[in-house]
């Protein structure tokens, strides 16, 4: 049964929501006591290690593990043969659909290795040294196959085909031959030809981005224990303990109730920990060895074998009237999916033009497999890539029209009542307010010096709701414990405590939020899609409201009044029965102390499928300075405005915005997967995969625009995804302004900019 909340009015005069209390898990995290994935150990545990393919594409002819098994200290060796073969099965889980068959084959290769780093075997041994030695003793015979990585090369008719069973979906007719194109999707409205015929100004270009990694600092880690009776325990760092449970059950053919997954503290995810890599292997090794098995990736493995997001090639053509009205848009997006189908091109297509009200458009998306790691979600999956192309094109259009870039976006911007490019009609959005916030921010008026430039770009994300469970339990002393099933990546426990405290009317310090294991709380979709504060927060609010209802009933029992004669205010029941003394109160503490005599423990649990996550919009302005001799880009200033609905804990909302900007700036300037001729990743480490360091960035001003979401009790909208959408184009547009050349291929590394300047000089 689904509970939904109809609540058109956002609560006024909030006491706790919008304040900035110290996070409840803070002291453990600043003292080094918080337990992350690799910090957990079990008695008698073994060390698990993975043997990975050194080839980008190869048939696995045979695997001989006899010598490895014979090595003293080796307790288990598993290969693809130790896992059941699964049929195609799509698992929704609230995220983009995962084909469980592909997931299982990504966890452990079967007949083919599909990318450099693909797992082909795993061992468990009594020490790291022995495990390493065992890996070296496993003899894998490969038949190396031709490989392909770049998206357009993978789409070519003569490209090596990764999956013989893959026939492009979404075409008018089913193709007669298999290819690397998993799917085409198309969104269109109006008459494109007529639109361009009516256009007075047209811009068009081709844009390229490279695969980039989420770059969380904590490598994947887990401990798994398979007991003799088949009861399994998994401790791991992930974005969802229930996701881990589901996937382990499917990949290993187990019953979910036999797997208990306990979430560790998670050291960053950004979408990259929305799937499993190690957990099923650790379970299989534990089953075979009879010992708990701990597995921890090193950084090289994280880069080579876990999800980056797509590299892409995109074509954008825009047509406008001289007054700035955009009348036609043609967008084609080609995204790398990695070794298995499922790039975020669908979301890229749906978000590409979501900020614009354009009468005639077509968006075509291509989901293309190639010999690189299977992409995983990365913050607003698909959207930053498409926004890089579209926002660069809009910037060119503004230049051609000689219009202020914000004015052009205001003129064509979506507002309430406008039908979104992806279908539904917008309501309660704050896009124009967000544009206005940037137009009036101090940075937008600051003068620029020589070799400096300013760029503006906008971004959109849907935000999602979905299934969550929360429990609120009142202790005998009146303190409250809030239990949810969502790992806390960026401070969500603080938001949960705030929302519960707001409803209960108590200080936030009186509420302790906890993240529970899969056996201790009802199902919750993973932490991702900017859903936790919205959806899980809604469950917390409803559970707290149920507790308040119980408290009022109990006060009514104590006072012997009708329940509707009791109000709840400031953490206490207030008697409104004029027959008894109106205004007398019973505090939460007082009621809790008498709970045994008024009905037993005070607690409530709510499970719901939250609808109505309001879409979010961001508008960013970036100032850069270029060294024209070296091509080096310095980001001088950055301001990001975002419609956040209502900031529950403003500091952590600002933090989401600032962090998203930093990741986007890295994507724009220096981050990229580099492959050698054999398809091996050349920069699988933080030395040459260059995420921004502290000295690369200025302070990042976050402007929180609050247009409340009427479907959330406190007006919250998701905030984590939107801020990574605009920066790629904001930086590129600033570079365009500084050097007078449009850079269409990311990253904007110094050699590329110097080459562009040299080409311009002739």
């Amino acid at each position: 049964m689904t509970d939904t909340l109809e609540r058109p009015d956002v609560k006024p005069d909030l006491k706790v929501v919008g304040t900035r209390p110290i996070r409840p898990d803070g002291a453990e995290k600043v003292t080094g006591r918080a337990q992350f994935g690799a910090d957990f150990n079990m008695p008698g545990q073994l060390v698990g290690k993975v043997l990975r393919s050194p080839h980008a594409h190869a048939r696995i002819v045979s695997i001989d593990a006899k010598k490895a098994r014979a090595l003293p200290g080796v307790k288990a060796v598993v290969t693809g043969a130790d896992f059941p073969n699964l049929a195609d099965e799509f698992h929704e889980g609230g995220e983009a659909a995962s084909n469980l068959r592909d997931l299982a084959m990504n966890v452990m290769a079967r007949d083919k290795a599909l990318y450099d780093g693909h797992a082909v075997a795993a061992v468990a041994a009594t020490s790291t040294a022995i495990a390493d030695e065992a890996l070296a003793l496993i003899k894998v015979t490969y038949e190396v196959l031709p490989h392909v990585i770049e998206v357009e090369a993978a789409m070519a008719p003569d490209a090596p085909v990764l999956h013989a069973h893959m026939y492009t979906e979404g075409l008018e007719e089913r193709p007669t031959l298999p290819s690397n194109i998993a799917r085409r999707n198309r969104i269109a409205r109006g008459d494109l030809d007529a639109g361009f015929a009516a256009a007075e100004v047209v811009v068009q270009d081709r844009y390229v981005t490279q695969a980039v990694h989420q770059g969380y600092i904590e490598p994947h880690a887990c401990v798994a224990s398979w007991a003799a009776d088949g009861q399994c325990n998994v401790w791991s760092s992930s974005q969802g303990q229930f996701m881990v449970r589901t996937y382990c059950a499917k990949v290993l053919g187990l019953e979910m109730s036999n797997i208990r997954v306990t979430p560790a503290e998670i050291g960053g995810g950004f979408g990259g920990k929305t799937t499993v890599y190690l957990e099923p292997l650790a379970l299989a090794l534990s089953r075979q060895s009879g010992h708990p098995v701990k597995m921890v990736m090193n950084r090289e493995e994280v880069f080579r074998a876990t999800g980056p997001t797509s590299g892409a090639v995109m074509y954008v053509k825009l047509g406008a009237k001289k007054d700035g009205t955009i009348v036609a848009a043609d967008v084609e997006l080609k995204y790398q999916a990695g070794a298995f189908a499922g790039s975020p091109v669908g979301a890229g297509s749906m978000t590409a033009l979501a900020c614009y009200d354009i009468p005639n458009f077509a968006i075509t998306g291509w989901d293309v497999v190639s010999n690189c790691p299977k992409v995983a979600a990365y913050r607003a999956p698909g959207a930053p890539i498409a926004a890089f192309a579209v926002e660069s094109a809009v910037d060119e259009l503004a230049r051609k029209l000689d219009m202020d870039p914000i004015a052009l976006r205001e003129k064509n911007g979506v507002k309430n009542g406008v039908k979104a490019s992806y279908g539904p009609t917008f309501n309660a959005i704050g896009y124009l307010e967000t544009l206005a916030a940037i137009k009036t921010c101090p940075q937008y008026a600051m003068p620029l010096g020589p070799n400096q430039g300013r760029g503006v770009a906008v971004g959109f994300w849907f935000n999602v709701g979905g299934e969550s469970t929360a429990a609120v339990n009142i202790g005998e002393d009146g303190s409250a414990v809030v239990v949810t099933g969502n790992p806390d990546i960026g401070g969500s426990r603080a938001s949960m405590a705030i929302m519960a405290a707001e409803v209960l009317g108590v200080p936030v310090e009186q509420v302790r939020p906890m993240v529970a294991d899969t056996a201790s709380i009802g199902f919750s979709m993973l932490t991702g899609g900017s859903r936790t504060t919205f959806a899980t927060g809604m469950a917390v609010v409803q559970a707290a409201e149920k507790v308040v209802a119980q408290l009022k009933r109990r006060a009514a029992v104590i006072w012997d009044v009708a329940p509707d004669q009791v109000e709840w205010a400031n953490g206490a029941a207030v008697c409104r029965d004029p027959a008894k003394s109106t205004g007398k109160t019973l505090t939460l503490e007082g009621l809790a102390a008498q709970s045994a005599r008024t009905g037993g423990p005070i607690s409530a649990q709510v499970s719901l499928n939250a609808q109505g996550a309001g879409p979010g919009f961001g508008v960013h302005v970036c100032d850069v300075e270029i060294d024209p001799e070296t091509g080096h880009v310095t980001v001088l200033r950055y301001t990001a405005a975002q419609d956040v609905g209502r900031a529950i804990h403003p500091s952590y909302v600002e933090g989401q915005v600032q962090g998203g900007v930093a990741q986007g700036v890295g994507w724009a300037l220096n981050e990229e997967y580099i492959f050698d001729r054999d398809g091996k990743m050349e920069n699988a480490g933080f030395l040459d995969y260059r995420v921004p360091v502290a000295s690369d960035l200025p302070m990042i001003d976050a402007i929180l625009v609050e247009v409340p979401n009427p479907r959330h009790p406190f007006g919250a909208k998701g905030v984590g995804e939107v801020p990574i959408v605009p920066p790629l184009a904001a930086v590129a547009n600033a570079v365009r302004a500084a050097i007078g050349v449009r850079m269409t291929t990311l990253p904007l590394s110094p050699p590329k900019i110097r080459a562009a300047l040299d080409a311009k000089a002739g």
Binding site: T128, A129, E300, E629, T630, G631, H632, T634, L669, N670, I674, E682, N683, F686, L687, D688, R690, P692, V693, S695, D696, S749, P750, P751, R754, A755, D758
Partner: protein, 288 residues
């Protein structure tokens, strides 16, 4: 990690003895060696830690010049005021190696003997005409810094030999140096190109001695004599700088790799040589 012996001799002679064993490697700061150990690029039979040898860590003034112990970390080098006054280019190059944490360990000798063509301190030391004191089974010898690296990852050191200290010569008046490198970020990267320039001026500001060395543009750091010669007898006017730039570029033999293209490295070597020359000139009291 692989298994090996760990030795921490307290005399240079014992260290040389230990290093003479087949497969032994010297450890000073370890910031390159431990990465190589972990990745399996090196699997030594023994690690010989030089840090407990007397004098391996520290800086002393001798005969008007400076002697820097082989294992002296960048942080100590950066804190030595007299050294920084005399050889600001060498000090800034040493301090560019990695992060603050790396500076707590990384040494000049390690940077040199790791023999990466992109090592930041090496062009600066070459331009400074620095000399290594090498200890080995056959005793002590001296060699200029540019004689150590022979190819990426290879040195001219014989088995058992190691660099015990690096000597920077005495400074005349009106002399200074500078080192610049180009990296994609602002910190934490390996140089795409680097340039060290060491100048001596006369009282009127005319260059009387000039040494230019480049990093990351050839299999080893290069001493570019023609680039130094371009500055002699000048006050670093535009023509001299153009000649320097051209000579620097002409000396480059770089590779294309994940860190930069051949074309880019060559251009940048010229740009950096120019800029470093101007900084060194100004530091030496010249006014361009």
């Amino acid at each position: 990690m692989p298994q090996f012996d760990y030795l921490s001799p307290t005399t240079a002679e014992d260290a040389a003895k230990a290093l003479a064993a087949s497969g032994a490697r010297a450890l000073s700061g370890g910031t390159d060696l431990l990465v190589q150990l972990r990745s399996g690029r090196t699997s030594p039979s023994a690690i010989v830690d030089l840090k407990r040898i007397a004098g391996a860590i520290g800086i002393r003034e001798e005969a008007g010049g400076f002697v820097v112990g082989a294992a002296t970390p960048g942080a100590i080098i950066g804190e030595h005021a007299a050294l920084a006054r005399a050889w600001p280019g060498v000090v800034e190059a040493a301090n560019l190696i990695g992060s603050t944490q790396i500076q707590g360990r990384a040494s000049l000798a390690g940077n040199l003997c790791n023999a990466s063509p992109a090592a930041d301190s090496v062009p600066a030391m070459i331009a400074a005409r620095a000399v290594c004191v090498i200890v080995g089974p056959a005793g002590r010898r001296e060699a200029p810094v540019e004689a150590i690296g022979t190819a990426p990852g290879r040195t001219s050191l014989a088995p058992g030999e190691f660099v015990l200290e690096i000597r920077l010569p005495k400074r005349p008046a009106h002399a200074s140096d500078a080192y610049l490198r180009l990296i994609p970020r602002t910190e934490m990267d390996i140089a795409v190109a680097g340039a060290g320039v060491n100048l001596v001026l006369d009282a009127s500001g005319v260059v009387t001695e000039a040494h230019v060395a480049l990093g990351a543009v050839a299999p080893t750091a290069l001493l570019v004599e023609a680039a130094g010669a371009a500055l002699l007898g000048t006050k670093l006017d535009e023509a001299a700088l153009d000649k320097l730039d051209a000579a620097a570029r002409a000396a480059c033999r770089p590779i294309d790799d994940k860190r930069g293209t051949t074309e880019y490295r060559i251009k940048i070597a010229g740009v950096l040589a120019r800029r470093a020359a101007l900084i060194a000139y100004q530091r030496a009291g010249g006014r361009a």
